[in-house]
Symmetry: C2
Subunit: 707 residues, 2 copies
């Protein structure tokens, strides 16, 4: 926990600088909200003109504000911010919320002003939220530093951390109608100093918070976020709605926040690694948050469905399938118990259909029976307006069963007016309910996903003992930057990390090629050597299965002629000679480096199919042997390595080991911006792999350091 | 239009048989609802005990009910149904709604009773809805034959046809809160006589209906539905929510190709062919229905986004990407016009961000500017509660612009209490609005999908002139059923449809094989011939590239030994000899027959990959050349046929032609239950294709006839 952030969460006294008595000013809103929030510490207002507002005199200067005060909320013209922050420093205040806008979001002039504010803040050891934000709300303390017209939301146990103030404002308003509560809302604005990771690390420790919901448009320091979110997710559910998923969305996010959105592949890999649940929409985020905030645990993915109408029962079954949940199988005891209590027309198989005549008592009894079945991990209860009973009576009957069970129960109340009172009763009992089965089932699935995640072993990747980090770093340091690593260095580099590579030698003349080939032993392969040609096979730059010296000479001459004729502008270094390898499965593996999250290991179908089929998957580096296997198994190329029908199995374990090594290589040498082994030949089990064609790109500087 | 159904939609008089004066009886509910519905024709009640209810005397017998009356609503004990239907017939009534339950849904006894009712109905030329349903509601006529406790829904232009009465009931209740209306609701129950297709064909002609929404759990006669829905969808939007996706989806995932014939695949192909929009949830169905019922048209997929908050703008941009819509590019004129009206901090690029200060006037002006841009096909307006204005003022300002524009506008009002009045105003103006951008954008996308569908040429597939239908039918008729067609007949069959097949001959001895091979010319391929082995390569049952007679003899002997050793129980007919073919791309093609929808053509990656990669797509037979090409292009195998990187192009057109022929073959010979060509070798452009390995299954009888 970062103690410099404590005043934001437990201030000893709050001063609003720029408080105003004019109701059309934001400074009036802030004073009003803070006053009515119920904050128990001292509240001070500063306005150069003095006066009185909300039963408090306004100080004409910050210097006159008495102790204790350790949090300042600034709602002043942007131009006055640097000087005011300085005054805060001089007054001994180390925590500032700068609500004002007119900074980075307005252009270069604003960015300069923002930098100046940050610089002054740093000089005075001040931590700052904002600028261009709506501040902090805490329903439990309570505290409200915003200028929003809505009142403080209901007390609850969901914390929202948001890059968008408008999203905060809209959600508070929405929550008042949807009738759910928040513990904290933190609007981060331009994040000149404090960002999502800082706040996440604080809020996860808050005893009033059960679920953390984050609306993010970018992540500034990917690796730090990953670490913090990963640790947080092991304590409490973390749900992220990351906008800018699509390419167009990324551009839109960039123009909105000025931030670089980072690659979608990296975000996906990072959220998965951290155990963060990724929502697709605001609605989904809060569907899940309400359910996870309930605090129930789930032991497996087998769900019993209980309904009074067949149609919605089938829809719920479909939804289970979509969410990778299972229809629970009932024990004989359960079936007998259900049979005894239900009419013959009812279904005692899953989904259990009470039919339209289902009574409040039948609902409660059957739910109880289902929840006691050891093969049932959770239940989904569906209620359409019962024709012969009041829905509220069904609710009254169900609620104690749901509350008393340790197993989670999703509730879908389908209808409108006739279901309204039942809905209200569930809300009052703090049991999450949904208008349709799909959102309840999606929430059950997230609970199960989280349980799966927590059950996984969480080992840290360890560096293989037999690699030579120094040697690799030396090669990379000495290499030309913004260029592909030459063949000889490449070989040494891979050797240092024990990545088997088929020896490859450069020949400049037909004679030299024949000589090298004879040394290696036939058959060999010839490949055109040129920095300008990345796809050699397209231009006839590969000849396989050369069987003697004469064929080698001849192949050399013809290849040079062919390639020169096709791409006259390509610079040709000569021709690479490589030993022809035994049969195996060809896959692609490699590393790419993401600006926010650093190196990502790639695995998939090699050859031309890598682009056409896009059968590739990514994982953050470094990775454990287990993570490497999971990565491989996510692709069709990886599934084939286990053997499939007439395709014999290959040395999957060796392939997995290579990915671990590639990952460390990229982590240990940050100047490597890309590694591509295409193909990596995976031979029969026990016979290992061989990197047939490898390229490694060295770049001047990479924004993300070693991992 | 089926005139026998007219009394259901425009009855000249309605009699309720089983009307009751006891409020706890369903017969009371029916009488109450019909009385209060406002139905303008004559209403009669029949109850053996007589009496008076809702100001009407009850007749003691149907025979005493005076003319005009042409629709009877039956709410009587199931056992009394056959006799009562007979009475209706005798009374001259030709339309019956049998609301009662206790029929097929209760088991074999009930099914028998239902069959008896149907038989009597048929004998008297009576058309029947139900049993086990909630009947008909028509808000315009008006008419309500249900016993539901909810009042008639609002008048609207959405028709709902539902297999589930409970779904109807819940949706009526829901619509009263959501504030949208229906034209018709038809609950079909057990569909002893009248099914979804019958009703669809009627309702599409109803001038008060703009959109047809169908909740279906099955489809009885796939081809008839396809035809009716296809014709309907060209007149009005048809949205289907088909439940039971997952079970079929599991079948589709089954490992055997034949099992890929899961009906989910057929439903998907059928809905797509018919231009039906397929919703995944009830919510989605009505999100779309409300938007499509609005009646706006769209000319393209380029959308302008207008917002007062950046975050939701980015989320909307993501949603566009998910829905295959595009961010519109603005003309210079549009940009200049926006620039003039907006502050510098606003974004004049798409998404247009008015920022929090966006005024009602700016909203209206900017939306107008955007809608006048010729590059904009539709707009998405997002409003979070504006801090400085009332949301209702923004609504007031936007509504005339939206109403006056020919282009569709999606509206998302994000928030709760502070947005409530604005929401109400949109509802009153009959402009669909949504709580979040995603559902509005998904609705815009369906409008665009529909426009795309209507723009497609709608040719009927024509049978190629050079095929010999009689010859094929003769072979199939003479073939043993429930068996694979023997090799020689297979060859003749394919020849009749001009499907080039590599000649294949059966050899029983090594000598015979050598003789056949010599006759064909080397090299040849040997393949084990056995009705028990469907995957020959798994057991070493294929040898390629046999170059002379000696190798042929030797290969024959070894193969027989090898296969016998592995699968001793397999019956071996001998060995097939086939000419070795030039290089080409191997794909799979075939036909499977679905119970509901008849033959489906399949195309995809051949070899072992058909099961592993599941790169296969399906289309209903028959198909046009264009549909065949589209089918091919949906797969990676098909994309490769056009040439991809170092993979040379192949004769895609010939492949497409083969699919057309295969489709006709299956249509013309309904006894063919399956055709699989795996691999189909597609040679270089202009060089055609060759069916290398073909199997055709003949079945005793197929439920679906020729198409």
């Amino acid at each position: 926990m970062d103690h410099s952030l404590t005043p934001f969460f437990n201030p000893q006294g709050v001063v609003v600088i720029g408080a105003s008595s004019k109701p059309d000013k934001l400074g009036y809103g802030v004073a009003r909200n803070l006053s009515r929030s119920g904050y128990q510490g001292n509240i001070y207002f500063v306005n150069p003109g003095g006066g009185k507002i909300f039963n408090r005199s306004m100080y004409t200067s910050l210097m006159k504000v008495p102790d204790p005060v350790d949090l300042a909320v600034l709602i002043i013209p942007a131009a006055a911010a640097p000087e005011t922050i300085k005054l805060c420093g001089q007054r001994g205040i180390r925590a500032v919320i700068l609500l004002s806008s007119g900074f980075r979001e307005t252009g270069p002039g604003g960015a300069e002003l923002e930098n100046k504010c940050l610089e002054i803040a740093r000089r005075h050891n001040i931590r700052m939220i904002g600028p261009n934000c709506i501040g902090l709300l805490d329903t439990h303390l309570p505290l409200d530093t915003s200028f929003l017209q809505t009142p403080l939301p209901r007390k609850g146990n969901i914390a929202l951390i948001s890059h968008s103030g408008a999203v905060c404002a809209a959600l508070i308003d929405w929550s008042l109608v949807q009738n759910f509560g928040f513990s904290h809302l933190v609007s981060l604005g331009n994040q000149a100093d404090i960002n999502e990771t800082d706040i996440l690390s604080m809020v996860v420790e808050d005893p009033n918070t059960e679920v953390l919901a984050l609306y993010l448009e970018c992540i500034q320091d990917g690796r730090r976020f990953l670490e913090t979110a990963g640790a947080a997710a092991r304590k409490k559910p973390v749900i992220v709605l990351k906008s800018g998923r699509s390419e167009a969305g990324q551009k839109a996010a960039a123009s909105h926040t000025g931030a670089l959105a980072g690659s979608e592949i990296a975000y996906t890999a990072a959220f998965s690694r951290a155990g963060v649940l990724r929502a697709g929409t605001i609605e989904e985020m809060f569907d899940w948050a309400r359910f996870l905030a309930w605090g129930k645990k789930i032991e497996g993915r087998n769900i019993a469905i209980l309904t009074n109408s067949g149609g919605p029962g089938v829809l719920a079954t479909d939804a289970l399938g979509n969410e990778n949940l299972e229809l629970a199988q009932f024990t004989m005891q359960t079936k007998t118990a259900l049979e005894k209590r239900l009419p013959p027309a009812a279904s005692i198989r899953n989904p259990v259909d009470l039919i339209a005549s289902g009574s409040p008592e039948q609902y409660a009894t059957c739910l109880n029976i289902l929840l006691e079945d050891p093969g049932v991990n959770g239940a989904m209860v569906i209620l359409v307006p019962p024709p012969m009973y009041a829905a509220i009576d069904v609710a009254r009957s169900l609620i104690p069963v749901i509350q008393d069970s340790k197993k989670p129960v999703g509730v879908a109340l389908i209808g409108g007016k006739r279901i309204l009172k039942a809905r209200q009763l569930f809300k009052e009992a703090n049991i999450p309910e949904y208008p349709f089965p799909e959102s309840a089932i999606s929430s059950l699935a997230r609970l199960a996903d989280r349980a799966d995640y927590l059950r996984q072993p969480h080992h840290s990747p360890t560096r293989p003992a037999d690699i030579n980090v120094d040697r690799a770093q030396q090669i990379v340091e000495q290499a030309a930057s913004d260029a592909w690593l030459p063949a000889q260095e490449l070989e040494t580099l891979l050797e240092a990390y024990k990545i088997p590579v088929s020896p490859i030698k450069l020949a400049s003349t037909p004679e030299e090629a024949a000589h090298i080939a004879a040394g290696m032993g036939f058959p060999v392969v010839l490949k055109i050597a040129s920095p300008d040609l990345q796809h050699k096979s397209d231009v006839g730059g590969i000849i396989l299965n050369i069987r003697d010296e004469e064929q080698t000479r001849c192949g050399f001459t013809q290849m040079i002629e062919r390639v020169s004729a096709q791409i006259p502008e390509a610079h040709l270094d000569g021709i690479h000679v490589q030993r022809m390898l035994p049969k195996g499965q060809e896959v692609i593996s490699g590393v790419i480096r993401d600006k926010q999250f650093g190196p990502l290991v790639m695995f998939g179908s090699g050859g031309v199919e890598v682009e056409g089929l896009q059968d590739v998957a990514f994982e953050l580096a470094p990775l454990t042997e287990h993570q490497s296997e999971v990565l491989i198994n996510r692709t069709w190329a990886g599934k084939k390595l286990s053997g499939f029908r007439s395709i014999p199995a290959a040395d999957k374990q060796a392939a997995s080991d290579i990915l671990v090594r590639l990952a460390w290589l990229a982590c240990d040498c940050p100047a490597i911006s890309e590694i591509e082994i295409n193909p990596l030949l995976v031979m029969a089990p026990g016979q290992g792999v061989s990197a047939v064609d490898v390229r490694v790109r060295i770049s001047e500087s990479n924004t993300s350091g070693p991992c």
